[in-house]
Amino acid sequence: MNPFDYLQADNASNAVKLASAAAAGKYLGGGTNLVDLMRETVERPDTLVDVTDLSRRIEARPDGSVMIGAAVKNTALAADRTVRRNFPLLSRAILAGASGQIRNMATVGGNILQRTRCTYFYDEASRCNKRDPGRGCDAIDGFNRYHAILGASPSCVATHPSDMCVALAALDAIVHLEGPEGVRMLKLVDLHRLPGGRPDIETELRPHELITDVELPALSFAARSTYRKVRDRASYAFALVSVAAALDLGDDGNVKDVRVALGGVAHKPWRALKMEAALRGRAATEVNFRAAAEGELSDAAGLRDNAFNRTRQADDRCRPR
């Protein structure tokens, strides 16, 4: 790991100032991803601005929305009463990730900006367009069991590893940002990019933009939601595929509204809009769910080791249980 300066920020503007002043400044959350990547020399910041003392508030508002400070720990968010009651898919998604220890360290901001677990990306000996633009991608013809089946490009087939973000994508979460040029908001589904020709540019964030809060808009039927994760062991493993889903079922047994997002399948948390559209107004039957899932995956492309994910997706009926 390269030497760096360690600075602490007590508020957002200060953090932005400190990070922008450095040649290669980065924010430090719980460090559970960044420290690892610095050891692997994938990340080489010269300055770390510790943002774990920024907002740790979870504010349930009267309108049913929730504001979550970026420094809120993953455990705290998952354990929050309002979130558990009104947005159980978010609690479950967070609890499906990593371990108790890591969730105690990890922050909401850091979780959103964690980077792919593609093992070629981690390996200095491998070619990787994300780490070293233009060098090629060794994963495309290599071990790609955990790689993308949706939205990938010939440059990169990596996936975004977060569980939490899959739930946030389903919930239309809004990310509040503060940067050298001021504050703004982005929908979470618009924050991460597909790889295209520049997999090294992973988000729409501008230089030194800081995540300050995440907002969950009110969604009444989110109380009827869940998160299903499929992985290579029973716990403490990244998703091969995961589904966050919320369902609003009418008295007639038809789907009034539905939210579905997929994890482990794309370079970003994948909002399954096609599937949602196919389900709205339809009877909530296994056949319809399956057909809708097939539709979502009609463009899915399998690689050597992950083609099975297609079948899985189609079969996972995404129904809350």
Partner: protein
């Protein structure tokens, strides 16, 4: 284990006539083998308090003044030569003491490879950082020494290496086309054939002929490989994490041109070994760097480096073909295949060993080849060969039973041999069918529906499977033990053996206490130091039998000595060693317990503070005369999700036949530990070796999936506890048998649940969709 075989066989030719035939036919079995009391009792670990307090000091935790820290840079190609090596930036980085490469490393001889000499410990015999040649992807090319670990790690990232590539064999598929039989397999022939097995197979009433594949695995002990080394003049001390202190000392001495006594290896605690904690490059490089710098050096590998520098279990492709007659006996048993290996190591992965001894068949053919690859030397990993060999064999037996519409346990009953199928020797102790009977009863095997997919609960299909476990009995020659008996009534037993969590120190303390008629607390067991009387290595599940034999020899010497010291004024006067036994802190006449004198009294009267005796164990001839193996029956209940293919082990039971159990608590843990590693082997573990580059692509515990708490159900373990009349204490080693048969028990249960036969490990969910 092969060291054992080689040495034993050579020694045998000359020595068999006049070595004591303690364990041979006709000799009196060890009387302790049936004694109860302390032996067999669930005594908790002597090192327990230290370990739960974090006070047991491991290799990377030994402090030294003025210590320097090492970091390694490793090759990123599989074969070729270093073309350019830029180290200037690293050398100039803060805190850096030196950068060692092949250009400035001390001249060192290649480490003699395991099996090439009795104490050879080299995982391979390639030269260590002596020239520009690269032999595997991950070979160390430079070592940075700095004042702190952080500085060393950073400086290493500044090193730039370029290579001239040479063609490398990194694809098993390619290597297989040039497979060849190894000279021998741990001293055994690589192939054995009697009768015309292929013809018998073709003519058989029932037959299966199947291919099985197993991937690479890594030991992944949680303790990272590490060593703390220091020179004092021309004497070298290595605080190591190793399962072979003596062999490491001898081998490192050869590397540096020293006498064995000049190298001291200490390893009191090892954070898990499983075959992986042996002599690899890092200890040698640390010693070399320490010599250059004139400072003590700590080297602690990263998890990635453990994958790159320390080999694991190799990949195999196996064919098992079995032909059965209408009555269920076997007309033919064939087990052949190929394992990936290198040209510079000695671990051919003996997957055909189980088929050589398990079942009766009219004809037999076993043959295994090796395919040479350019990769890190593969090595012994918990039940090398037997673990994955039983996967193939026992899955095939299950398939055969199904084609015959026989219960798989009934089939095994019908093919139970009367004597060893290949050697013709009598079994010293074989109660496999009893293990099946007891296991089946406890597990509820009778509730199994032989029809696949017959049981279902919600999305989950449920199935049961069973398989045979087996592992050879080994006892190492050449070990010795020393007993020091003090007037205060303490016994200190010393031998250079190892405690990696098997319970060795606890069990041997129980043993010594029982054998000397002393209390448990009056005994101290010293081990883990190469300056103690030479001990056996912790491998091949041989330590317990080996140590026990040396302790028995040392106790015999001690008894003789004590009787001499007791002299004519003692109640013991005139008695011969075989007329006395130890009891209540002294000796008495066997059939006249009142003729007794305590050790303290004997020593007091002879004005001695203490008496010390050292003796070597006899050669392990018992294993030459008898077919000596451990057995077990593994039972598994699996749940498989119909939608996602996810697997869950819901119940597991191991029923073992491993001679006498010496400590029921630590033995249970050993068996369970083996079974759990077997669950990993069956379901989740796999080292991803990228055939394009010969590079391991998941060198991390996040991506190499060893079972976690949630993967492991409550496991039941039972045993026959029938002592082997021909082994010390009636016991067998039990470190490895637990993992054998597990792969097959799981696969057979998965089949019973889903109707899918998965013949390629690990059984990941994609294979079940």
């Amino acid at each position: 284990m092969s060291v054992l075989k080689d040495t034993a066989q050579k020694a045998l030719q000359t020595a068999i006539s006049f070595v004591p035939d303690r364990w041979l036919p006709g000799a009196e079995p060890d009387p302790m083998r049936t004694k109860h009391g302390l032996i067999g009792a669930p005594v908790s670990r002597v090192d327990g308090p230290l370990k739960v307090e974090g006070k047991a000091r491991f290799a990377a935790e030994v402090p030294y003044e003025n210590m320097a820290y090492a970091a390694l840079a490793c090759s990123t190609i599989s074969r070729g030569r270093i073309a350019a090596l830029e180290t200037a930036k690293a050398e100039a980085a803060p805190g850096v003491l030196l950068v060692m490469t092949y250009r400035n490393a001390p001249r060192m001889a290649p480490p003699p490879v395991m099996n090439s000499a009795p104490k050879a410990a080299g995982a391979s015999d390639l030269p260590v950082m002596q020239d520009a040649d690269i032999h595997w992807n991950g070979e160390p090319v430079a070592l940075v020494l700095a004042e702190t670990q952080e500085q060393a790690d950073y400086a290493k990232s500044l090193i730039r290496v370029t290579y001239d590539l040479e063609p490398a064999i990194t694809s098993f598929d390619v290597a297989k086309t040039r497979a060849h039989p190894p000279e021998n397999i741990l001293g055994e022939p690589s192939s054995i054939e009697f009768g015309d097995a292929e013809a018998a197979l073709n003519g058989a009433a029932h037959r299966v002929d199947l291919m099985y594949r197993t991937p690479r695995y890594n030991h992944n002990a949680i303790e990272l490989h590490a060593a703390t080394v220091a020179w004092e003049g021309d004497k070298l001390t290595i605080h190591d994490a190793t399962q072979m202190v003596n062999s490491t000392a001898w081998t490192v001495a050869q590397v540096f041109g020293l006498k064995e006594e000049q190298v001291r290896v200490l390893s009191p605690y090892v954070g898990g070994g499983f075959g992986g904690k042996c002599l690899w490059n890092h200890q040698i490089l640390a010693a070399a760097a320490s010599k250059l710098a004139g400072r003590p050096v700590r080297i602690a590998l990263s998890r990635e480096e453990v994958f790159r520098i320390v080999g694991g279990r190799t990949t195999t492709e196996q064919r098992v073909a079995i032909g059965a007659k209408p009555d269920g006996t076997l007309a033919a048993l064939i087990h052949t295949g190929v394992a990936a290996m290198t040209t510079h190591n000695s671990c051919p992965e003996q997957f055909t060993f189980p088929a050589r001894h398990l079942y009766a068949a009219d004809t037999l053919k076993v043959a295994q080849d090796v395919a040479d690859m350019d990769m890190v030397a593969n090595t012994f990993m918990r039940a090398p060969g037997e673990s994955i060999g039983t996967f193939a064999l026992e899955c095939a037996v299950d398939e055969l039973a199904e084609t015959m519409q026989l219960d798989p346990i009934e089939l095994r009953r019908r093919i139970e041999p009367e004597k060893d199928p290949t050697t013709g020797h009598a079994f010293s102790s074989r109660n496999l069918i009893e293990a099946y009977r007891r296991g089946a009863e406890k597990f509820g095997w009778d509730k199994r529906d032989p029809t696949p997919r017959a049981r279902r609960k919600g999305e989950w299909l449920i199935g049961m499977g069973c398989a045979t476990a087996t592992y050879p009995y080994y006892r190492m020659p050449g070990g010795a033990a020393r007993i020091r008996l003090t007037r205060e009534g303490r016994a200190i037993v010393s031998t250079a053996v190892h405690e990696m969590g098997m319970g060795t120190s606890t069990v041997q303390q129980q043993h010594v206490a029982a054998r000397l008629g002393m209390s448990f607390d009056a005994v101290t067991f010293e081990y883990g130091d190469s300056t103690l009387p030479a001990g056996s290595m912790a491998g091949g599940s041989s330590q317990t039998a080996s140590i026990s034999a040396t302790i028995i020899a040392a106790t015999e010497a001690l008894t003789k000595e004590l009787l001499k010291l007791a002299g004519n004024d003692s109640p013991l006067a005139g008695l011969k060693p075989d007329q006395v036994e130890a009891r209540n802190g002294g000796l008495c006449k066997r059939d006249e317990p009142d003729r007794f004198e305590s050790y303290a009294s004997i020593l007091g009267r002879s004005q001695r503070q203490e008496v010390t005796c050292e003796a070597s164990g006899p050669l392990p001839l018992e294993a030459q005369k008898y077919s000596m193996h451990s057995y077990g029956a593994q039972f598994c209940e699996m749940r498989v999700n119909m939608v996602t293919g996810e697997t869950r082990v819901s119940r597991f039971l191991g029923s073992f036949d491993t001679g006498r159990i010496l400590n029921s608590m630590t033995a249970t843990s050993q068996f369970k530990g083996g079974i759990i590693m077997g669950l990993g082997l069956a379901l989740t573990e796999e080292t991803n070796f990228d055939a394009r580059f010969g590079r391991i692509m998941n060198p991390s515990l996040a991506e190499y999936h060893v079972p976690v708490h949630m993967d492991v159900p409550r496991i039941d373990v039972i045993w026959n506890d029938i002592p082997d009349p021909h082994s010390p204490l009636g016991a067998h080693g039990i470190g490895e048998i637990g993992i054998t048969g597990v792969g097959a028990a799981v696969a057979n249960a998965v089949y019973n649940a889903t109707g899918k036969r998965v013949r390629e490990l690990p059984i990941t969910l994609d294979k079940l969709l």
